[in-house]
Amino acid sequence: MNMQNGTALPGYLPIAEHGIIGDLHTVALVGTDGSIDWYCCPAFDSPSVFAAILDRVRGGFYRIAPAAGDWTTKQLYLPDTNVLITRYLSPAGVAEVQDFMPVERVRGRVHRHRLIRRVLGIRGQMNMLLNLQPRFDYGRDEHREFFYENGVVFRAPSICMALETALPLQPDGSGLRCGFTIEPGQSATFVLEQVPETYVPRRYSEEETKEAFESTVEYWRGWLAQSRYQGRWREMVHRSALTLKLLTYAPTGAIVAAPTTSLPEAIGGGRNWDYRYTWIRDAAFSIYALLRLGFTEEAAAFMDWLTQRFSEPRPGASDPLQVLYDIRGGFDLKEQILPHLEGYRGSAPVRIGNEAADQLQLDIYGELIDSVYLFDKYASPIGHDAWSDLCRVVDWIADHWDQADEGVWEVRGGRQRFTYSRLMSWVAVERAIRMATRRGLPAELSRWQSTRDEIYHQIMRKGWHSERQAFVQHYETEVLDASVLLMPLVKFIAPGDRRWLSTLDAITSELVSDSLVYRYNIEASPDGLEGDEGTFSICTFWYVEALARAGRLDEARLVFEKMLTYANHLGLYAEEIGLTGEALGNFPQAFTHLALISAAYCLDRKLG
């Protein structure tokens, strides 16, 4: 691999060739080539500082790698942490870069948003080159750079950042570079930090860097030590947990669906979305997974975020909840195309914001109330105010469940009467009834029960396709849809029910390709979007769970084990997997890691 000194990256690394570091406010993607090519600061949904993953020329990057010659890399996490190590191996020697972002642990203290890169000499003599090319606001902002004796301050209209180091930095276009030699026992530290406009960079002492490193390691290890998971595939489950924690916005407890925008579902395609938001849908799965592993604090924080959403009025909206919110609970997610960015490997458009927020997706109420139910059952009983708000939501569902909507996959091809939306409406009412009954809470039980039964009968009558002998995507089609894999998981149907087993067989023969599961057949069910897509990793994990619950344990285990081989070198998953096994879509995706945890937990218990 040869490096260059210019201001553009030579090409696009595969999506899976990245690790992730973060500070519970935002993350950075670090390529195996030592390049940080995605970083938004100070929060997940802030404009980008580095976005070379979306445009290698205009996006901006921050690379530390050998200056020249042939070299290879390895990347790993320091065990049980989110401290990433990228190793460079060459005939001249070995060096490694430790990348980490300190987590501010004192509540109320101003978060400094530091991204620390520490280069260590391991063997021989390595000539290294640092090249930092920030491009603020997705490459739209001009900036000025000011050189001081311990670093450089970049001043853009929206943000100021400093790169601080004891090593001499040289101007390079509108960025900087630094060539240095490192030998065994030596280290060099570079701190990228959000700073005030009048800031003067300072030199970090070796002791200070070491302390930041050790406290970051201690933070992650201390956090993971709360996990109660002792089952099979523990490393993968724990990596998923660590990744979910990285996707958590600490000030509110919200979890982003993924920390990236517009990584394509198919190379060259237009299915490119901004996932730096919090979907209500993910909530039930998040809370279930976090509680299962013993992370009650995170589950409680996310539950707080959720209950605030259904207690607040939505101006001008008739339905109680929006499909997704920003990480602070905000409603305004206006979608915008960034035409100046070419997109990952030419996959345009690049979007920021997400208009799916304005869709009607009736399933979210089921996911929401299921998560409240789980929290009430396993963590902390629901309070009066939350119950009153929840009753209001259930009453709304009782009046509105029987209508067409955009559905779980957020299609843009018109509303349909989706089976999954009704299934989750059933979950909403059924879980509310369970809570009212178990806790003796006031409720219009007879009305709720008749709604629940009405939904049940309608799904059995209209969602069931007698010729196909399967539950189908919506009432006016014979197309299959992987979302119905959740039917036994949410206890709508017995896992050994005849109708369910034949649905499972139909899905296996039509939507499963070498263990991987498509969410639906795009050709048979046009979704209003152009382009192809890969298999959906979450559907594969649902499939594992459905197989396990149906008692098909050998199959479930094989599918699960095969699915594990599609993780990247660090155990991370994007949303989808392409035909040749490549990761596609935003990365890493919380939903997939949540489903992995749930499938591993279920399968491990079934295997005994």
Partner: protein, 139 residues
């Protein structure tokens, strides 16, 4: 445009971070740049200050009693204490990589700083940073 290029080079230096483009242009015209070849000396310990030096490009080592204490690069400045106090310099400055400096002669230092208070403020900030780095407990 040579003058424009020089102004834009100066505009990168932290000490001039608050100056407008016009002020930078004036500064580039007013102050001369000096070049120093690699391996040579810019200042010698004990000699009387020959000016306030602001590094535009290159690298210099700071040696006290032959021990290298720091490396100075783009945006750093040196010679200020000697100029302000009219006392001999305390360190050797040796060129590590070809050096280009903006030089303010000792006799013009005071009038220059008084005429450019924002430059003086930035210089003062850097001195404060140096003090804190030398003794983190100090405030």
């Amino acid at each position: 445009m040579v003058a424009g290029d020089a102004a834009s080079r100066l505009g990168r230096l932290g000490i001039f971070a608050d100056l407008t483009d016009a002020e930078l242009g004036d500064l580039a015209a007013e102050l001369g740049e000096q070049s120093f070849p690699e391996g040579g000396w810019v200042l010698r310990q004990g000699e009387l200050g020959s000016g306030l030096f602001i590094i535009v490009e290159g690298e210099a080592g700071v040696l006290v009693n032959d021990e290298e204490r720091a490396i100075l690069t783009t945006g750093s400045f040196f010679g200020e204490a000697s100029v302000l106090l009219a006392e001999p310099v305390m360190a050797d400055i040796v060129v590590r990589r070809p050096l280009r400096c903006l030089v303010i002669p000792p006799e013009r230092a005071e009038s220059f700083l008084v005429a450019h208070p924002r430059v003086m403020f930035r210089m003062f900030q850097t001195e404060a940073r140096r003090l804190r780095t030398a003794d983190p407990e100090r405030d």
